[in-house]
């Protein structure tokens, strides 16, 4: 039996103490989602990768994880998209510029941007899944020559719930971005695609030798998106999915996000299809 070495606490960090960061702008995305622009003390950079997340503290309400929505290529601040779903987010929605929230992080592996270099990026975002994927999309836009094609498939429940409409208009106008949108249920004014997000996939022309898919959306979406991509011939290891789990610590200690033998907060939230296959509790 091995005797594990007890580490000297001098080498350990304070894992649970947030930094008080200032909200500098708040924007309504829909009536349920707001976008917060946040600046760390002394204007320090968050230093995140697309796909990473932070823990936001509201004293009295607690802490919750939020994916960073802005790209690290855009300096000076970072952005979080927050949907009003519970006690903490309801309180967050009352915040106005000038107020402060606690921030810990960035946490998680994020997307391996080095591995994605030179690839055709197929971004598949369902609903609020566009919030984290926007970080990756804007990263690719800002370093456009580092990547091949940039194909964005975005699905939403209804046209009223579509996010980042202004930005997406710019994507539509950019000849180097292929931007496809569908809604499950369209209003009378909706003239675009109708149907679940997987209906966008069969019509894509992909160069399988250089395409990588990055997927984020509600849990139910992953299985079907994977099936659709597999039937296009895309190998499992080229499909990256960002999982969502409730977590309390973000540093691999509290156990809440553990699925089988992996901690989503430290080894995830981004996994490829091959890795997910061995994680039976993942999807």
């Amino acid at each position: 039996m091995t005797e594990h070495k007890l580490m000297d606490p001098a080498g350990a960090r304070d894992l649970y103490l947030p930094e008080m960061a200032e909200i500098v702008a708040v924007k309504d995305l829909t009536d349920q989602e707001k976008l917060y622009e946040i600046v760390l003390p002394e204007g320090r950079e968050l230093g995140h990768k697309p796909g990473q997340f932070v823990a936001v503290s509201m004293f009295g309400a607690g802490e919750a994880p939020f994916s960073v929505s802005s790209s690290p290529t855009r300096l000076g601040s970072f952005e979080l998209g927050v949907r009003k779903v519970g006690m903490l987010t309801e309180m967050m929605h009352r915040l106005v510029p000038g107020e402060k929230v606690g921030i810990r992080g960035p946490f998680g592996n994020g997307f391996d941007m080095e591995a994605l270099r030179g690839k055709d990026l197929l971004i598949i975002a369902g609903g609020i899944g566009l919030v984290p994927m926007r970080s990756l999309i804007n990263y690719a836009i800002d370093r456009r020559d580092d990547f091949g094609r940039l194909i964005i498939c975005y699905g939403s429940h209804s046209d009223a719930e579509l996010l980042f409409n202004d930005e997406r208009k710019l994507w539509d106008q950019d000849p180097r971005i292929e931007h496809h949108v569908t809604v499950d249920v369209g209003s009378d004014e909706w003239t675009g695609n109708t149907g679940v997000i997987t209906t966008l996939i069969p019509r894509l022309e992909l160069d399988l030798s250089r395409t990588v898919a990055c997927v984020c959306g509600p849990p139910v979406m992953y299985r079907y998106v994977q099936l659709a991509l597999r039937s296009k011939g895309l190998p499992e290891k080229e499909i990256f999915m960002s999982l969502e789990r409730r977590m309390k610590c973000g540093v691999g200690k509290c156990g809440h996000c553990q699925i089988n033998n992996t901690f989503v907060c430290t080894e995830g939230p981004v996994y490829n299809g091959l890795e997910l296959k061995s994680l039976q509790e993942a999807l």
């Binding site: 009295g60 309400a61 519970g86 006690m87 309801e90 309180m91 009352r94």
Partner: protein, 249 residues
């Protein structure tokens, strides 16, 4: 804080023990009154209010008159909080629901029963929308303060949804089952800080059942301890008759 929330305290069918517990907040009463203005409370003051920010309501609904009054309270209150096992679950009053109502009426009121209309004992939520619940028989000050501070802060109070065993284990109590006692802790909602087992008493389930309670497993344990299946059911029904019948969730 701008204006203090105006609160009212109301009672229906019950022993008024929960209300008495409000009056027992000796140490915190001044702090509480810092934050709110009590405008209606039959047990402690005169007068009635037309509009309330928060209504704390104790007792179960067991007469036609109750139904009328709870609707009125709901109409005039922005937030309605059910207080105590009777208001949240129907309480032990609901034990009568498993028997024919006329039989119960006769047993209680005898030949004068026609003077006393009665209904099955219902939790408030069976009749009006309830925003928050403070469970227990009686409600504990601990939980009242938790809900109270949440409401003052403008946040949703969190309800424990795990077994009393969790709090009991955190306190390093000797398990009362180990001492040969019956205990409903494994399926009863926590939030009481395992008050009864901490004092060596069994948990009788006054806070209601957890979500997705494992009743068959619980009954199996009770039967293994020597109860008949019928006795096991009755133990669970003491506070949870309505929940077991699907009246409340």
């Amino acid at each position: 804080m701008a204006l203090k929330p105006r609160i009212g305290i109301f009672d229906f069918t019950g022993c008024e023990g929960c209300e008495l517990n409000h009056l027992n907040f000796e140490d915190q009463l001044l702090d509480i009154l810092e934050h709110v203005e009590i405008v209606e409370w039959r047990e402690a003051m005169d007068g009635r209010a037309d509009e309330l920010d928060i209504a704390f309501v104790e007792g179960s609904l067991s007469t036609p008159d109750c139904i009328e009054r709870i609707h009125e309270i709901r109409r005039k209150s922005k937030v309605l909080v059910a207080v105590g096992a009777c208001a949240v679950l129907g309480g032990i009053n609901a034990m009568k629901n498993i028997r024919p109502i006329e039989e119960v009426r006769e047993e209680v009121y005898g030949k004068d029963k026609y003077l006393f209309p009665t209904l099955p004992a219902l939790p408030l939520s069976a009749v009006v929308e309830v925003d928050h619940s403070i469970r227990g028989c009686p409600m504990t000050q601990l939980e009242f303060l938790k809900v109270f501070t949440s409401l003052v802060m403008g946040k949703q109070p969190v309800q424990e949804d795990y077994a009393v065993c969790v709090e009991c284990k955190l306190k390093e109590n000797e398990c009362v089952v180990e001492k040969g006692m019956i205990c409903l802790g494994p399926v009863t909602r926590a939030g009481c800080d395992a008050h009864c087992p901490t004092f060596g008493q069994m948990c009788i389930g006054c806070r209601g059942l957890v979500t997705d309670p494992r009743l068959e497993a619980m009954e199996e344990i009770l039967v293994a301890q020597g109860l008949s299946m019928d006795e096991a059911r009755k133990k669970l029904q003491m506070f949870n008759a309505n929940q077991l019948e699907g009246v409340t969730s």
